[in-house]
């Protein structure tokens, strides 16, 4: 029995749309221009969108995403499978165009997560993101075709409003990358960070910095930690990673590596579910904050970890292994 939906008052339409999931809302939006206008004006929730440019996910807060992917055959269009995935025909055959359409339909001002495998996708998306003034919570950039593309990617991400995480996984062939990151989110993760210089690190305002395979040497590490000691890195909570340049030849905060305490400390942040264990040496800054520093030298990649203990957000469990060992003896 059909029902003349558009004869309902518009506030009532909003109540009906509230009961629809993103698949249904998307299909409704395709019915006509008029329903699209009504739908946009009565979109009931704050939806967020994620995309890796293969599929598009639409979710409400942190719920599981409703995933849209390209239909392999025309007859599969609008079919939903058990994995909460609907097959659709991307607009003009392009994920980007469908993404743009969905941002519009779902009234998104925040993107949950964007993952870029191709520079051109990033280039096109950055225009949309800047134009729509989107907040992007997480941005992942994979291996680009070459260093120039990677460098240009940095220039683009500086123009976007990325708030929670930037994750970079490009392996540079030369350590000279002309563009730098100038806007830092809460967390910065660089898996091949040889290009990320001490000058970059010194201006980094992220709370969590993860630098794998870096070229930071003892002097760099000392400069950065001295800055923290002076209270000039108020956001910093954790910096960890590995470096090919650390050695035992010069001091870091007046200590010669390896720097390792005898107490095993497990740190649990109340706000983040990632317990971390460190054999750190306690250091203090001018603001009275306590940090734990551990540097382990190995022939290839030496590991470093520096954790700031914020008593308002951190639970620490300390075990003196020497003492435990002595008791057992």
């Amino acid at each position: 029995m059909p029902i003349a939906l558009l004869k309902f008052p518009t506030d009532l339409l909003g109540e009906v749309f509230k009961e629809c999931n993103p698949f249904e809302l998307y299909n409704v939006s395709l019915c006509s221009k008029r329903i699209r206008i009504v739908l946009k004006s009565r979109m009931p929730r704050c939806w967020k969108i994620s995309s890796d440019f293969i599929a598009i996910g639409v979710m409400c807060r942190n719920d599981d995403a409703y995933k849209f992917e390209a239909a392999s055959r025309p007859e599969d269009c609008y079919k939903v499978n058990v994995r909460r995935t609907m097959q659709i025909k991307f607009r003009n055959g392009k994920v980007m165009d469908s993404l743009d359409y969905m941002l519009d339909i779902f009234g998104c001002s925040t993107m949950k997560c964007m993952a870029f495998l191709v520079y051109n996708d990033l280039l096109k998306f950055s225009k949309i993101a800047i134009d729509k003034k989107l907040e992007i919570e997480e941005c992942h950039i994979d291996e680009m075709n070459n260093d120039q593309e990677f460098s240009d990617s940095l220039a683009l991400i500086n123009q976007m409003n990325i708030t929670k995480l930037i994750e970079l996984d490009h392996r540079v062939s030369s350590r000279i990358v002309p563009h730098r990151i100038t806007r830092f989110p809460d967390e910065l993760r660089i898996y091949n960070s040889s290009w990320f210089s001490i000058e970059q690190l010194m201006i980094c305002t992220s709370a969590a910095i993860y630098l794998r395979d870096s070229y930071l040497n003892n002097e760099d590490m000392d400069r950065f930690l001295q800055k923290w000691k002076r209270g000039e890195l108020p956001n910093l909570r954790v910096m960890k990673g590995s470096s090919v340049k650390l050695d035992g030849e010069s001091p870091i905060l007046e200590m010669y590596p390896p720097i390792r305490g005898q107490t095993k400390t497990t740190i649990k942040r109340i706000s983040v579910d990632d317990p971390y264990t460190i054999y750190g040496v306690k250091v203090h800054n001018d603001q009275g904050l306590e940090g734990l520093l551990e540097i382990n030298l190995t022939p290839r990649y030496s590991r470093f970890a520096f954790i700031v203990i914020d008593p308002t957000d951190t639970v620490t469990e300390e075990i003196d292994e020497n003492f435990v060992g002595a008791e057992e003896d």
């Binding site: 029902i3 003349a4 299909n27 409704v28």
Partner: protein, 188 residues
């Protein structure tokens, strides 16, 4: 005017109490109100059942009617069909003094009445029933393609909307021309 006695037999049984009889609060007699729809059939409904409707609850909360006054002044809902009002009253009686469970089996099932029911429930501001009704409307398009949705929800195509708009403009133009001609005739 005919009258149904909805709600009279659905008064909640007295709660068992462990307090001594002498200390028990005297039972307040339940008050009733009367409503009718387009068909003028009057339904007697308890104030408790009517609490589901924010509109009626707002109307009666300060009236302080006696039984006779209430009977003499039924609330008229001329925009609601009699059978739809009957459904709504039945639902309010069944849910007097208790919240609606997420899967309410006592809810009206007639699909053909859904459109009018939604409008009535929206007008009477019965939030829980409205949520259920809207869920029913949304369920109609579950797993459907845009083409199927267009049919189920009677959504005109862009071409139909454009044609309707053109027609409306044409009509408005004709009416305006007619009015101008009439005004010119009056002036002569």
């Amino acid at each position: 005017m005919s009258s149904t006695e909805q709600g009279t037999s659905s008064a909640a049984p007295a709660e068992p109490t462990t307090a001594p009889e002498s200390a028990a609060a005297p039972e307040v007699p339940e008050s009733f109100y009367y409503v009718h729809g387009k068909d003028k059939v009057v339904h007697k409904v308890s104030a408790g059942a009517l609490q589901h409707s924010a509109l009626i609850h707002g109307m009666i909360s300060n009236l302080g009617y006696t039984e006779e006054q209430a009977k003499a002044n039924p609330f008229p809902f001329e925009n609601i069909d009699g059978d739809i009002l009957q459904m709504v009253v039945d639902w309010c009686n069944q849910h007097k003094g208790k919240p609606t469970p997420p899967e309410d089996t006592n809810l009206p099932k007639q699909k053909e009445k859904l459109f009018d029911l939604v409008l009535a429930v929206n007008y009477l501001e019965i939030k829980e029933l409205l949520t259920y009704c809207c869920k029913q409307v949304a369920m109609m398009v579950k797993g459907k393609s845009p083409e199927e949705i267009r049919e189920i929800w009677m959504i005109p195509t862009d071409a139909e909307d454009e044609a309707a708009e053109k027609e409306a403009k044409k009509r408005a133009g004709k009416e305006a021309a007619g009015e101008t001609a009439a005004a010119a005739g009056d002036a002569k």
